[in-house]
């Protein structure tokens, strides 16, 4: 596998092979020492001569060489080998090493290939094999834990696997800290990451700092993911690859539930434990006794021909069983030859939520052609996703219209189900009478199986990504390039509620109301057109000096519309047509258009191939800001020196094989706001228009019309070193970003007239160190090689100033716990409500009679919500065709707020709610007032845990703050290449690879975290415009989780890949 990867890297720096007819022909096969497999793409050169060639796909070469010539075999990742060309045949085997560190090629801005040794900033290339080691469906998941400084969190586990991506922490307080996705050289929406077939990827280069912004502009301020798709086969011969990957998902972590108490409530100071209620949603009832007990109403007594339900009064595990084992079946076929790459993919995803499905089908055609000095390339990718999922928003809209609180999502229906309820028995709500709407056991909640069937979201999302590249070689040292890009996304979606009219029993006995039958049709489209022209210079000035440079301009327009039309009440249930309704149509048709234009340039000078310096500059103009502030310029500079080549005494050093130091400084400016934001707008009030009468109200958001772009000043220093013939490699970067004039939507109080005021409101410094360590091999036992890689990032930031008059800025979250930027503290910290405490001792003040604490409305700072440390450990073992790779990840030094803790305590299902078995207890570490002095409380008991948890405790968010640290076994993959010897008897199949993989295998959490995998965080939907069902979320409400997200999952499965 590794050879193919290295071969592809090599191809990028392919030297033109020229073969001179000489005395005689030498032929042979180049194999790898470790496994004996042939290596394609090895450069074979005559020492001190000009003759050279490359090995073919079978590792064979043929070269004319003078007599007594010495052949040099070089290949990236392997130690070069010199051998005298004896008679006719010369077979060699190469030993792998990472000696050639400096030769690694990086896809630098504009897709230009640069040697890593020349680059003054941190960049890492991740090849296809590494990305797909765990068969991730989503490219982002495939990158998780593999690059230092890259923090990818899966925020939900639905059929779309939403992820959030940060590189080197955050630079914007406002929310968008997403890196730029550069797809085959074209700036694209990061959401496409979830649409691209990971198997189409040639490699991904991660530009970690904002260096890419010098060329790509402000969207690259958070780093760049340069994704290059496959363009053709490596050796020019046709290759067909067929693969199947099948994976399963199950829940990896479920919140901790109490297992002692059933339905009921009404506990008070006399009877701490409440009475039993067979139709309750609260689990505040009596203790389980294992005897049969009634659940649900008395059917026969109320004229329904059904026996009452009796179940054992003991805990079951049915809530967890509600979720299915999800599956992903992916079939791929691709065809590649010299200039063409075609792939088809079909992925069938069945979610863990029953009935959630998504089917993704994609086709890609990449083609290039050269006509002399002119080269043209076209990449097209069309992806269609058809999904049918539970419409969570539909249910929560219904709940809020019913004034049912705390009902954010599906998980909440489980929190309203007691532990002894045989939930899975209610699956067949259409035929089983006990599962039906009117007969379901509780009066206060829906059968979750009914709910997921009632509210559905069905949609089709299509993406077309196309780009055209033209390159004209003006001279050896100059090319002109033109690049046009089109990305187009269309979503057609319908959200439906089947509705239900309650029976007489439902209305009269159970007080059930009707469930409206409704429909919303949505059509969303967004297209981005870009046009870029640039000249690329690469001139060897003298023997020692080389000049490189770029000069170009970039123009882009985004155009979109989001149209929604709905009917709130349909006449005939299940007849989903907005024409068949009562009442008025609802809907909106918001549009947006954004234009950006920039020109840019860079100039680089390199000396003797060991010292380089580059200066960059870009001027950008955007339609988002007012004419006074909409044009801005930002410069940058970076430099690198390969000391191991520059300093004579290092050249010969046996210990230090390679050493490069680098540094860079650049500035970026950006205005990442939505269009039309500068002037405050008005909306028709609810119910308006009444006939011909309009009625408007001012919107709650205000923006300073003279908003300036925010600015990021990035400084970084780093080194890359190899020791002991590069057996040990080490790379480290220190970075510091000074972020000023941050555009922040400050949460303001309503009496100002607005609830958010967007201003240049804050400045903060973000800094850290990222480190990569490689031990290749760690252990070399001849046939068995164990490699080890580790990466670590330490990242912290500090708010340095805020808008005059403000000492803190709040940014998302809940009323009682939210993210704040506070001067002198990291962004973000969680501020939350706590109990009233005795300032002298910190003890919780309780009422001297009732033993109950009270909430303190003045919130306190509890800690930061972004991880300080992220560590990835990646051992790999290779033995012949077998390879085993594991990935462990640690994130630590941060905290999170679990709103589900609150929701679970309210219904009495959480482990915490059963504290002290619900008997009276002395509130831990408490005190009360006696004659004006606080005395430690040892005797006054809190008389009623139920009232406490369903009352006071709900407004004390500190109860549900958790240490978010975690260690996880992120990925395990075991791959096996069928030995070539087994395939040698036929000529059809080139190779067969079989792999087993698993992700998120194990999770180790601190005790305080009883609620969730801290990676799974709630991210509020962005603006309503283009509010995507899928993809990457940009919300900054770090460290917040609630019941609208599904429980976290682990994935395991296998794949077979056959190459013809």
């Amino acid at each position: 596998m590794k050879k193919i990867l290295l071969a592809c890297l090599c191809l990028l720096v392919t030297l033109t092979a020229q073969v001179y007819a000489q005395n005689r022909t030498v032929t042979g096969t180049v194999t790898a020492k470790e496994d004996g497999l042939p290596i394609p793409g090895v450069t074979v050169k005559v020492k001190n001569g000009s003759a050279a060639t490359q090995t073919g796909p079978d590792g064979k070469y043929s070269l004319s060489a003078p007599e007594n010539a010495v052949l040099v075999f070089t290949f990236i990742g392997y130690s070069p080998l010199e051998r005298a060309a004896g008679s006719g045949n010369l077979n060699v085997s190469l030993e792998s090493s990472s000696r050639q560190l400096g030769e690694v090629v990086i896809t630098a801005p504009l897709g230009i290939q640069r040697q890593k040794r020349d680059i003054g900033y941190a960049a890492t290339t991740v090849p296809n094999e590494v990305i797909n080691a765990g068969n991730a469906v989503n490219l982002a998941n495939g990158l998780q834990g593999k690059v230092s400084g890259l923090n990818i969190t899966t925020t939900n586990s639905g059929v779309f696997e939403n992820v959030k991506i940060n590189l080197r922490g955050i630079r914007s307080l406002t929310g968008n800290n997403n890196p730029l996705l550069l797809l085959d050289g074209v700036q694209s929406d990061l959401n496409y990451l979830s649409s691209i077939n990971p198997n189409d990827i040639e490699n991904v280069t991660v530009l970690k700092g904002s260096a890419g912004a010098a060329i790509y502009g402000s969207d690259a301020r958070n780093g760049v993911l340069v994704v290059t798709t496959k363009k053709g086969s490596r050796d020019g011969k046709p290759i067909i690859t067929v693969s199947n990957a099948t994976q399963f998902q199950n829940i990896s972590f479920f919140p901790k539930f109490q297992e002692q108490f059933g339905l009921g409530g009404g506990g008070n100071s006399f009877n701490t434990i409440g009475g039993y209620t067979s139709t309750e949603n609260w689990s505040w009832g009596p203790r389980y006794d294992g005897k049969y007990i009634q659940i649900g109403p008395d059917y026969r007594a109320n004229g329904i021909d059904l026996d009452n339900q009796f179940v054992p009064y003991e805990n079951t595990n049915d809530r967890k069983k509600f979720y299915n084992t999800g599956s992903v079946i992916q079939n791929d076929i691709s065809y590649a030859e010299k200039n063409v790459f075609i792939s088809l993919q079909d992925a069938n995803v069945n979610g863990i939520v029953p009935d959630d499905k998504n089917r993704r089908t994609g086709i890609r055609v990449n083609a290039t052609r050269e006509y002399g000095r002119f080269k043209i390339g076209v990449n097209t990718n069309y992806i269609q996703q058809n999904y049918n999922i539970f419409d969570q928003e539909g249910m929560s809209d219904f709940n809020s219209s019913q004034n049912i609180g705390l009902n954010q999502g599906l998980m909440n229906l489980l929190f309203n189900t007691a532990g002894y309820i045989p939930l899975t028995r209610y699956k067949d709500f259409e035929n089983d009478p006990y599962s039906q709407y009117n007969n379901y056991y509780t009066d206060y909640g829906l059968n979750p199986y009914f709910a997921i069937d009632n509210w559905r979201k069905q949609g089709k999302k299509t993406d077309l990504i196309a780009n055209l590249n033209m390159e004209f070689k003006v001279a050896d040292w100059m090319t002109l390039n033109y690049r046009a890009g089109l990305t187009q996304q269309n979503v057609t979606e319908r959200r439906t509620s089947r509705g239900e009219t309650p029976s007489e029993f439902g209305v009269n006995i159970r007080n059930f109301g009707p469930l409206a039958s409704n429909l919303e049709e949505r059509s969303f489209n967004l297209e981005r057109l870009s046009s870029e022209v640039f000249a690329n210079f690469n001139k060897q000035l003298t023997e020692d000096f080389k000049l490189t440079g770029v000069l170009g301009s970039y123009l882009r327009q985004d155009n979109g519309r989001d149209t929604r039309v709905g009917a709130v009440s349909l006449v005939v249930p299940d007849l989903f047509n907005i024409g068949q309704r009562t009442g008025n149509l609802t809907g909106s048709s918001a549009g947006r258009k954004i234009r950006q234009f920039a020109y840019y340039g860079s100039a680089g000078l390199s000396y003797k191939n060991w010292a380089s310096i580059e200066v960059t500059g870009r001027n950008e103009q955007t339609s988002l800001l007012s004419p006074e502030t909409n044009s801005f310029f930002y410069p940058g500079v970076n430099a690198s020196v390969v000391l191991s080549d520059a300093l004579p005494f290092l050249k010969t050093n046996d210990v230090l094989s390679y050493l490069k130091i680098r540094g860079g400084w650049n500035k970026t400016a950006n205005a990442d706001i939505t269009p039309y934001q500068l002037a405050p707008t008005f909306t028709q009030g609810a119910g308006y228009p009444y006939g011909s009468l309009p009625g408007y109200s001012a919107n709650d958001a205000l923006t300073n019309p003279l908003l300036k772009p925010e600015s990021i000043e990035n400084t970084e220093f780093g080194f890359e070193a190899g020791f002991l013939k590069n057996r040990i490699s080490l790379e480290a970067t220190y970075f510091r970003q000074n972020n000023t004039d941050q555009i922040v939507p400050v949460n303001t109080v309503v009496e100002t007239g607005y609830t958010t005021y967007t201003l240049n409101a804050a400045s903060f410094v973000n800094k850290g160190v990222e480190m990569d360590l490689g031990l290749t091999p760690l252990v070399d036992l001849g046939p068995v090689r164990i490699n080890f890689k580790a990466n670590a990032t330490y990242n912290t930031n500090k708010v340095t100033s805020l808008y005059p008059g403000l000492d803190q800025v709040s940014q998302g979250g809940y009323t009682y716990a939210a993210n704040y930027a506070i001067i002198g503290s990291p962004a973000y910290v969680i501020r939350a409500t706590d109990y009233l405490r005795d300032p002298a001792t910190g003890k919780v003040i309780v009422n001297a009679q009732t033993g109950a604490p009270s909430p303190d409305p003045t919130t306190k700072v509890f800690g930061n919500t972004l991880p300080k440390w992220i560590v990835g450990l990646n051992p790999t073992i290779r033995y012949k065709g077998l390879s085993v790779s594991a990935l462990f990840e640690y994130k630590g030094g941060y905290m999170a707020y679990s709103d589900i803790g609150n929701a679970m305590a309210w219904t009495g299902v959480s482990e915490l709610s059963a504290i002290n078995s619900r008997e009276k207890f002395v509130f831990p570490n408490s005190t009360y007032l006696v004659n004006g002095a606080y005395v430690p409380n040892t005797s006054v008991t809190l008389t009623n845990p139920e009232t406490f948890f369903t009352g006071t405790a709900r407004s004390v968010a500190s109860n549900y703050l958790i240490d978010a640290s975690s260690w996880r076994f992120r990925e395990l993959s075991i791959g096996y290449d069928i030995p070539a010897s087994l395939l040698s008897k036929q000529r059809v199949i080139r190779s067969i690879n079989v792999a087993l993989s698993a992700r998120n295998l194990a999770l180790w959490l601190p005790k305080s975290n009883m609620y969730t995998d801290p990676d799974f965080q709630f991210s509020a939907a962005a603006a309503s415009f283009g509010n995507n069902t899928t993809g990457v979320t940009s919300g900054n409400t770090a460290g917040i989780s609630n019941s609208s997200i599904n429980p976290p999952v682990r994935t395991f499965g296998g794949s077979v890949t056959i190459t013809f």
């Binding site: 309750e280 707008t681 009625g695 408007y696 100002t752 007239g753 009732t850 006071t952």
Partner: protein, 496 residues
């Protein structure tokens, strides 16, 4: 080839570099109107509808605390309402809801002033006074002079409740004078969905509001300050809202989702057919009506949809009581709070100040000697108006008035007697006014209105709301500067 290539690249360079200023001038919203296209007549209708719907449907908590309403047998306890142990998350919509309307009103006032349209300016001042009254009566000190100035006061300071009251009288007098000077605007006839441009009715409304504010501070207002306001009212000369002159709003309520009369929609049934099954008659007031043979209970409450026994046609619940599951009475077996006298139709107008309330205010002011008239006559007229408003017969009203315990002097404290009869008349019409009178005069004084909740732990009916958590989160220094607020003891300035 070469030539084509060069000219192509030259052309594309030209195209992409020739961006003019207009090219970027695409940032005017195509989706929503901005300030330039908003005139006062576009703001007035919505501020009126929201003012009316807040008055009519946002004060459930007062109805619960005052013994009017109670939770049906279909629901579990509402902890904070029933335990009186309220938090900073309780009723936060009072703060955000009123300030949201007030911001629109404030904009309307500025725009009207700039455009020289006194009618809208006066309407704005009037509605602003009404809104701030509700804020002060629930929170005491609130941002007033520093509000709605985000550039100057991003963290608005608080004004004292009594200072705000004092300024509201100044604003209301200015409003009365502006109304007097303005003529009916043809557009106002449609956008003024309360009085259709009738400035005399507006002036009556202003005067009634002034009287209402004076009555609220009856226990603390100085004679001089009070006399000055009365003099202003008399100088205006339009009088107060009289019998049949309820100030009510109707934008064109219709039987359609989101467009029904708010009271009907909230407490009876929505356009989608969802019945209110939460709010039910409180046994306290239901039994009081029944004991006095006061037929109005059949007008403010509905007969139970499914009475369990013939005696249960009108049945309520006891506030705060937690009944065992075996209790057979559910929402359907109990009386809802949208009786035929209150919820007449889904398209009825929504009152802001009713004629009933106006007449009781006048009766109390006469009794106190603030305005001229005969207290006995005014008192009886107010009770008759209540009967008439609810569609009960005049005969029944006369029978009721003839009861010895209804006589003005029955208890020896006519002011409290007026307030008590006002209490029995305002259910569903102005639940909040009853809560004001309770705090001001201690009427009703019956301990039976207190919650039966087991988690009450000896707490009493709160004297005010706590500032919302959003103030502690985002305007912390100013709210903390108000000191520790205790809902049990920190009274509104007029509550002495």
């Amino acid at each position: 080839m070469k030539k084509i290539a060069y000219s192509f690249f030259a052309l594309s360079l030209l195209v992409t570099t020739s961006c003019k200023k207009e090219f970027f001038d695409i940032n005017d919203s195509p989706n929503s109107p901005t300030e330039a296209s908003i005139t006062p007549n576009l703001l007035l209708p919505r501020t009126l509808t929201i003012t009316a719907s807040r008055t009519g449907t946002s004060f459930d908590y007062a109805a619960f605390w005052m013994g009017y309403w109670s939770r049906s047998g279909s629901y579990g306890q509402s902890i904070e309402i029933e335990s009186y142990n309220i938090t900073t998350g309780f009723q936060t919509g009072q703060w955000t809801g009123w300030y949201d309307i007030l911001n629109d009103i404030n904009l309307m006032e500025k725009k009207a002033k700039a455009a020289g349209s006194p009618f809208y300016e006066a309407a704005a001042k009037t509605l602003k006074a009404n809104g701030f009254m509700y804020l002060v009566d629930q929170y005491n000190n609130v941002p007033y002079s520093k509000a709605f100035d985000i550039q100057g006061n991003i963290l608005p300071g608080y004004d004292k409740g009594e200072d705000i009251y004092a300024d509201l009288f100044v604003q209301l007098d200015a409003a009365a004078k502006l109304f007097a000077s303005s003529t009916a605007d043809p557009i106002a006839v449609t956008s003024d969905i309360m009085f259709h441009g009738d400035v005399t009715k507006w002036r009556k409304f202003v005067n009634t509001l002034r009287l209402k504010l004076l009555i609220h501070e009856s226990q603390v207002v100085s004679a001089a300050a009070r006399a000055a306001v009365i003099a202003q009212i008399n100088a205006d000369g339009s009088g107060y809202l009289g019998a049949g002159e309820t100030a009510a709003v109707n934008p064109g309520y219709a039987v359609s989702d989101g467009q029904q009369n708010p009271y009907y929609n909230t407490y009876k049934v929505t356009a989608l057919g969802i019945l209110d099954s939460y709010n039910r008659a409180n046994n306290y007031i239901l039994n009081t009506y029944k004991a006095n043979n006061d037929i109005r209970y059949t007008r403010v409450f509905s007969a139970a949809a499914i009475p369990l026994t013939p005696a249960d046609t009108y049945r309520g619940t006891n506030f705060g009581e937690t009944l065992p599951n075996s209790d057979p009475y559910r929402a359907n077996n109990q009386s809802d709070v949208a009786g035929p006298g209150l919820a007449v139709s889904p398209t009825q107008s929504q009152p802001v100040i009713t004629s009933v309330e106006s007449l009781f205010l006048q009766a109390e002011a006469i009794q106190r000697g603030w305005i001229t008239g005969t207290a006995q006559t005014a008192y009886e007229a107010a009770i008759r108006e209540s009967y008439a408003y609810l569609g009960a017969s005049a005969t029944d009203a006369n029978t009721y008035i003839a009861r010895p315990n209804v006589a003005l002097n029955a208890t020896g404290d006519p002011i409290k007697q007026i307030a008590y009869q006002k209490y029995l008349s305002l259910i569903g019409l102005s639940n909040f006014e009853a809560y004001v009178d309770y705090r001001r005069l201690g009427v009703p004084s019956d301990p039976a209105i207190i919650s039966l909740s087991g988690s009450r732990n000896g707490l009493n009916i709160p004297l005010r709301l706590l500032y919302p958590q959003s103030e502690y989160n985002n305007n912390s220094a100013n709210v903390v500067g108000q000191g520790t607020i205790n809902a049990q003891t920190s009274a509104i300035f007029w509550d002495k």
